[in-house]
Every structure is written in structure tokens, then in C-alpha cells.
């Protein structure tokens, strides 16, 4: 996609106030040349989906530290699909057990989930690779 700037929405849903990771990531992605929108804390999946559609982002990054991931990711995916936004990718990060990460990706609820300890450069690399492969 020549000329396209990558737009990404970073989100936290539910009663989860651990935002240090997502704020660091927001800064990192900004410094990698992306346009980053952050929802702030305590959002619903409905709010995140509508925001993603209004902002025409390429990717929603959902950060989760509460154990609610098995509900949140499928719900967000479903809401995006139902709003004609199947092409918006959902990725995740935070404290999510490896087994659950794999299951969520296998079920199609997320395209990728990055576990604790992932370096930010790895996430940037992943996004750039996936975005470069996309057409229109």
C-alpha cells in the first residue's frame, strides 16, 4: 500500500487499569511512524468497535490484564465483523496464558497475541510486515 500511513487503535476494555504497557506501545508505534489512537481505560467492546470503524484503523490492539480475554477478543471480533469491518485486524497483548493465546488465534478471534516479555520492536516488525503484505 503505497502512501498509506498505518493507523492503529490501542484499547483497554473492562475493569482493567494496567495501562503502562499500552502507553509504552503507543509511544513506540508513534515513533515508528504510525498514527496511534488510544481509547483510555474502562471501555466496552462496543465502544472500541465503533471507534475502530469511525477512525478507519488497520488494526485494533487490545491490552488485557484481567483474565477476561476469552470473552473480550471473540466479542470484539464479532462486533467488527458485523459492522462490515472484517478487514480490521485484532491483535492483543498483556497477561494472557500461552494456551489461551493459541486458542484465540486458532479460533480467529485475534490475528496475533503477544505475551509478557515481548519486545516492542518485535511488535513493530510484525505490524510492518503484515501491513506491507496487504493490498488496498
Amino acid at each position: 500500500m503505497k502512501n498509506r500511513n498505518v493507523r492503529i487503535l490501542l484499547a483497554k476494555t473492562g475493569l482493567d487499569s494496567h495501562d503502562r504497557g499500552v502507553r509504552l506501545l503507543a509511544r513506540t508505534l508513534r515513533d515508528s511512524g504510525m498514527e496511534v489512537i488510544y481509547t483510555g481505560l474502562y471501555r466496552t467492546e462496543e465502544e472500541v468497535a465503533q471507534t475502530a470503524v469511525q477512525e478507519d484503523v488497520d488494526i485494533v490492539g487490545l491490552s488485557m490484564h484481567t483474565g477476561a480475554h476469552n470473552r473480550a477478543f471473540p466479542r470484539l471480533r464479532e462486533l467488527l465483523d458485523s459492522q462490515n469491518a472484517g478487514d480490521i485486524l485484532v491483535i492483543g497483548g498483556g497477561v494472557i496464558p500461552e494456551k489461551d493465546r493459541q486458542e484465540l488465534v486458532d479460533a480467529g478471534a485475534a490475528t496475533a497475541i503477544f505475551g509478557p516479555g515481548t519486545s516492542t520492536s518485535k511488535i513493530v516488525e510484525w505490524i510492518n510486515k503484515v501491513m506491507a503484505a496487504r493490498k488496498e
Partner: protein, 330 residues
């Protein structure tokens, strides 16, 4: 994403946001979609909110959305934040103040990065307004980046311009300066519970009374100066913003009653034609110079004082603009 224009006309938010994106990314042939919707534009009241970084523009916008929603008016918001001059990245953080409206179908908020534009808004704002307009939004609020003294391009796009001031930004000389302080249709002294608010109010009032006729831009409109109190007292804050809403609507009615809407439209159209000419004429030339390496050669020649920039520009004009006489012959 085909037929974006038609889908926008049908009220498709996804298409609307993509169209704005295509405008931002300068995707070729995007103007076709604008051609499709252009005839249907011109129905919304466009409100510009501008002021220094941290003055409270986003928070005011949030409350203003609520005030209009209480009247069942639909609202579109274009919120502009700066692009990094180093990386091209941006953190679009205005929306975070407006998230209580995130599930409201009557509110469409779109964040934009400046992408190098200098006037306090982004190049896509003009067309973004058309898109929101066609979606049928009663009110379109354009929130500029945090501005200094000179970023006043919002006047080309808004019917009603609100300048947000906060105490502690300088002495009375600041209120006398040209630029930002001249463009307000409504002044807000925000965070009016803070020290210095009374003094700022007086200075602003003095300034406003000296420039009563606004240089013929809005003949007869007396620019009001409104005090808005701390957001930490939600009831008082909401009350102030309700007053602001009524003032904004009064201003629009004033424009209508005095046949001044056409005036503002002409200003917007002039800016748009300038922009379109730039895109149609200068942008392709710049791209070609860049791709052919000629630009690098010119920069080299000019940096080592071999040729001045004006001579170089004249040579480029010679090459591309057939009808143009040499500057030396003119």
C-alpha cells in the same frame, strides 16, 4: 472499497471514514468520490475550536457534543493532532476526552494527523467537512491542533470560530497581537477558577471592544467573551457550555440574518480551489523533480551558493508552465 461517494451518500460510516483516509493518504482518483458528493454539501453548521495546547479544547468539545445531543442534534467531529516532523507518526489523543459518546450513533468522531500542514489543521479537513456534511450532521466541530499565534487556517473552514484562552499565558501585549486573537467569533476564558482569569477577561474584553467591526469580516457581531469554570465541578461546567452552545447558535443565526453565510462560503471555496490547484499543478511537478533526482541536484546547487532558489524555481516554471514568460522578461 468501490463507489465510496455513493456509499457515503447512503450514510455508510465505514465508507465515510475510508474516504477521509483516502484524502489523507492522497490516493489517486479520490476526487471522483468528492465530485459525487459535492452537490449535496453545504447544510451543516461548522464550528471551529482553537487555542493553545492543553487549553481544554477536547474537553470543551466533549461537553459541547453532549449539549447538542440533549437537543437531539447530530454531531460530527474532526479532531486534529500533530504529526511528528521526524518519524511521520502521531498520537491522536483528542478522542480520549470524548469517549462517553463512543456508542452514540448520532456522533461521528474522526481523528486526523496534520501530516506536515502548517495552519493548525490538516489538508483533509476541508473535504472531511464535506463528508460529515453529506452524512447529515447538524453540527460539525473541527478541533485544531494546539496552536500558537499564527495558525489560523480554521477561519477558511468554520462558520463560527471559538478561541479558547487560559490564564497565565502572558501579559496584556499578547492580547494586542495580530493572528489568533483576531479570528474569534467567540472567546472562551477556560479554567476561569484559576488565578489571573479576571485579568485575562478584562484584557480580552478591552481588545474585543477596540475591534468592534472585525475588519468587515463579521459586520456588527460583538464577539462575546465567556468564562468557563473548572471541569472538576461538572454541573457548573455543563452550565457554562450550555451557554456557549446557545452563543454559537446565535452567531450562526446572525450570519444567516445578515447574509454572511455566502461570505464564509466564498472564503472556504477560495481555500479549496487553491488547494486543488496545488494538488493538480504543483504536487505532480514536485513528485517528478523528486523522482528524477532533479530536486536533489537543485538542493545541492543552492546549498553551495552556486544558484539562488529563485532562479531555480524560474527554470522549473519555464519547463512546466508553457505560457509563463521568464521572470526577467515580465
Amino acid at each position: 472499497m468501490k463507489e465510496l461517494g455513493k456509499r457515503v451518500l447512503a450514510g455508510d460510516i465505514r465508507a465515510a471514514s475510508r474516504l477521509i483516509r483516502n484524502l489523507e493518504d492522497q490516493i489517486p482518483n479520490t476526487h471522483v468520490a468528492i465530485q459525487e458528493i459535492f452537490a449535496n454539501t453545504g447544510n451543516s453548521h461548522v464550528i471551529g475550536i482553537t487555542g493553545a495546547p492543553g487549553a481544554g479544547k477536547s474537553t470543551l468539545t466533549d461537553e459541547l457534543i453532549a449539549a447538542y445531543r440533549s437537543q437531539e442534534k447530530t454531531v460530527g467531529v474532526l479532531a486534529v493532532d500533530p504529526t511528528s516532523p521526524f518519524t511521520g507518526g502521531a498520537l491522536l489523543g483528542d478522542r480520549i476526552r470524548m469517549l462517553r459518546h463512543a456508542e452514540d450513533k448520532g456522533v461521528f468522531v474522526r481523528s486526523l494527523a496534520t501530516r506536515g500542514a502548517m495552519g493548525g489543521i490538516s489538508k483533509a479537513v476541508g473535504e472531511g467537512i464535506h463528508v460529515m456534511d453529506v452524512l447529515g450532521k447538524d453540527k460539525i466541530i473541527v478541533e485544531t491542533v494546539g496552536v500558537g499565534q499564527q495558525e489560523v487556517e480554521i477561519i477558511n473552514h468554520a462558520h463560527t470560530v471559538i478561541v479558547v484562552l487560559v490564564p497565565g499565558m502572558g501579559d496584556e501585549i499578547q492580547a494586542l497581537k495580530a493572528g489568533l486573537m483576531e479570528i474569534a467569533d467567540i472567546f472562551i476564558i477556560n479554567k476561569a477558577d484559576r488565578d489571573g482569569a479576571g485579568k485575562l477577561y478584562k484584557e480580552t474584553m478591552n481588545m474585543v471592544q477596540m475591534s468592534r467591526d472585525k475588519y468587515g469580516i463579521t459586520k456588527g457581531w460583538q464577539t462575546p467573551v465567556l468564562l468557563v469554570e473548572s471541569v472538576l465541578e461538572p454541573h457548573k461546567f455543563a452550565e457554562s457550555v450550555t451557554k456557549l452552545r446557545d452563543k454559537i447558535d446565535e452567531h450562526y443565526q446572525f450570519l444567516v440574518d445578515h447574509d454572511l453565510i455566502a461570505d464564509r462560503l466564498r472564503r472556504k471555496t477560495t481555500a479549496e480551489i487553491n488547494e486543488a490547484l496545488w494538488g493538480a499543478i504543483l504536487a505532480p511537478i514536485l513528485e517528478e523533480l523528486e523522482n528524477s533526482g532533479e530536486m536533489a541536484t537543485m538542493i545541492g546547487k543552492s546549498s553551495n551558493k552556486e544558484v539562488d532558489p529563485y532562479t531555480l524555481a524560474d527554470e522549473v516554471a519555464q519547463k512546466y508552465l508553457k505560457e509563463r514568460p521568464r521572470a526577467s522578461e515580465a
